[in-house]
């Protein structure tokens, strides 16, 4: 009989999406899944894991340990460990960038900046304040107001030769500003480009972005233009790991692997 190797799972229940990552003992990603978080975090944690297991062609009994993270981490009833998204993102990024880096994560409803040392240790971190400006929620709101599909935004911005400046800090004020521009006939591509620029500005204001910068989160996963824009702002190339949207879940899975060997 072939001995089945253990698998480790990370579940990241964010405010907008729920992510599951399955890795093997070597830290190689076997499968991943992303679903909308909805309102029932316990249910989505089950279903996102089920989806990931199915794509791995594997069964629950091979899962040796699970770490939950994110906004809904306490609702993952089957988790063996719970850790914050700060730690899990740090872990996930360090897996791909084993060097001192500054992590810029743009999530559905919050942004984080984490400074990591050479060993992946957190030197310090900041999370955004209570406002959604500069987060995925801001982009979703704009898309909704302008009746555009989220997946079309990046292409529209990249294709646009023009760009407008969004002046306001506030999501509601920005929407009013943008609707005013649309009414005056400003080309929509230029507006969307301005929206992405404003996201990059908001995140750059949160903390000093020094050294090597790595971006993660759903916004950069779906809109590579923000990586280019942040690079322009910083005057250097910005790194993005593979699967930037599931980096927190990957970190959680890696932690599950470490802790089940050496529980703390």
């Amino acid at each position: 009989m072939v001995e089945m190797k253990p698998l480790f799972v990370g579940i990241d229940i964010g405010s907008t999406t729920a992510k599951a990552v399955i890795i093997d003992a070597e830290g190689v990603i076997i499968a991943q899944a992303i679903q909308r978080s909805g309102y029932d975090f316990a249910a989505v944690s089950e279903s996102v894991l089920a989806e990931a297991l199915e794509s791995a062609g594997s069964k629950r009994d091979r899962v040796a340990a699970v770490t939950s993270t994110g906004y809904g981490r306490r609702n993952v009833e089957f988790a063996d460990f719970q850790r914050t998204e700060i730690l899990c993102h740090a872990k996930g990024v360090h897996h791909y960038f084993p060097e001192p880096v500054t992590v810029v994560d743009i999530g559905g409803q919050d942004n984080k900046i984490i400074h990591l040392g050479a060993q992946g240790e957190r030197l310090n971190f900041t999370m955004n304040r209570k406002c959604a400006a500069g987060t995925g929620a801001f982009i979703e709101e704009i898309a909704y107001r302008l009746d555009l599909k989220l997946e079309d935004l990046n292409g529209m911005a990249e294709a646009s030769a023009t760009e407008v400046a969004i002046g306001s800090f506030c999501t509601v004020f920005s929407c009013t500003e943008i609707l005013g521009m649309a009414r005056r006939g400003t080309p929509i591509g230029g507006i969307i480009k301005g929206v992405f620029r404003s996201v990059v500005k908001r995140v750059s204001e949160m903390d000093a972005l020094d050294g090597k910068v790595v971006m993660t989160g759903g916004v950069v996963a779906h809109n590579p233009i923000v990586r280019v824009m942040l690079g322009e702002a910083l005057g250097c190339e910005v790194g993005v790991p593979p699967h930037p949207q599931v980096i927190g879940a990957l970190g959680a899975a890696l932690i599950a692997g470490e802790l089940s060997v050496d529980p703390v």
Binding site: Y71, R83, T84, E85, I86, L87, D110, E121, R122, L123, N124, F125, T126, M127, R129, K130
Partner: protein, 408 residues
Amino acid sequence: MAEIKKLETAKLMKKVMADHFYEIDAAVKSGNPKVAWCTSVGPAELLRALGFVVYFPENHAAILGASRAANDCIPAANAIGYSPEICSYLTSDIGAYLKGFTPLSKIYDGIESIPKPDVLVYNTNQCRDVKDWFEWYAREWKVPCFGIESFVNVGAVTKDHVDSIAAQMRKLAADITAATGSKMDEDLLKDTVRLSRKCSDLWKDVLEIAANKPSPLTFFDGTIHMGPAVCLRGTQVAVDYYETLLKELRGWVAQGVAAVAGERHRIYWEGMPIWGKLRENAQLFLGLQTCLVASTYCNSWIFTALDPDDPWNSMARAYTELFIVRDDDFKEDYYRRMLDIFDFDGIIFHDAKTCPNNSNCRYGLPQRFSKETGIPFITIDGDLNDLRCYSEEQAITKIEAFIEQLDG
């Protein structure tokens, strides 16, 4: 779930505070002695020496916050033009008045309302909001209102500062006498300053007991036990209270009792308490085996300069020397001194939306201090009383992530 350890002296505190409020209520009802309102770091000694019983509306506002009544009251003050962006003590307290509500009548049988004073006295050493707050009541009740206009952003406290404030204090006393007929008793002033200094020294000893490892005291305990230092300094009652508390705490130290069982980390809290979440936050840190060992906030009622042999100048100095009055260089140095005493691993800055005066994270101070000392910090967005400004989930995540960071 680990349980919050309670000091026996807390029972005595209930009695001390009840006596305080009943004394003021009786004075209002009988018209004798006269009643003065005073800001929390205002010239309480001077008012006692003028024969007043003294009421501190910030204490009332904190009770509104801690009982979570504040959020029902704040909108009433907002609606008459007092912005949600200004001091939520002010808006809670005035809002409660507008709604005809006080938690005092819930807690203390027979007390129907906050006490209408004979005079309102502020010191702007902490902020301008106290002046606006007291002036609102002055107009409402047609009661005289006086104050000391303090220096702000003070580096070293000089003789000029002291002379100026002492002169203002003498004029203040004369103005109060003219307005109310209450006369200054210089012997009583000396004695009050003596008792206030004694209270201050004892309170300092209480707070510094947290230098022990493990600490028998947390910031959360401090916010409860500071009541007499705020409301009763200058009286024998406050002195007796802290002697009792200190004795109990020394007993705990001798027995090795920890306020936070299995204390793993020690944190300095910088800023106002989030009154409506005291219990939840105390529980959170308990669960994280982390003790908030010290805070600028609780230290604010330490007035080491008070000297009964030189009451006027020493009051002027004591009320100008306070942390809140000082510039950032002083503050940075102050944290360093606190670090030496309490040996903490990190600082949590509370950025209170409606109190810039107690939010010391807006001009790069945390970053400078952290760079100098290597002590990490985080900033929590919240407020003293307005829970609409507080995202609890985000705060918990930040705090947990900070402790994970300290864990290494």
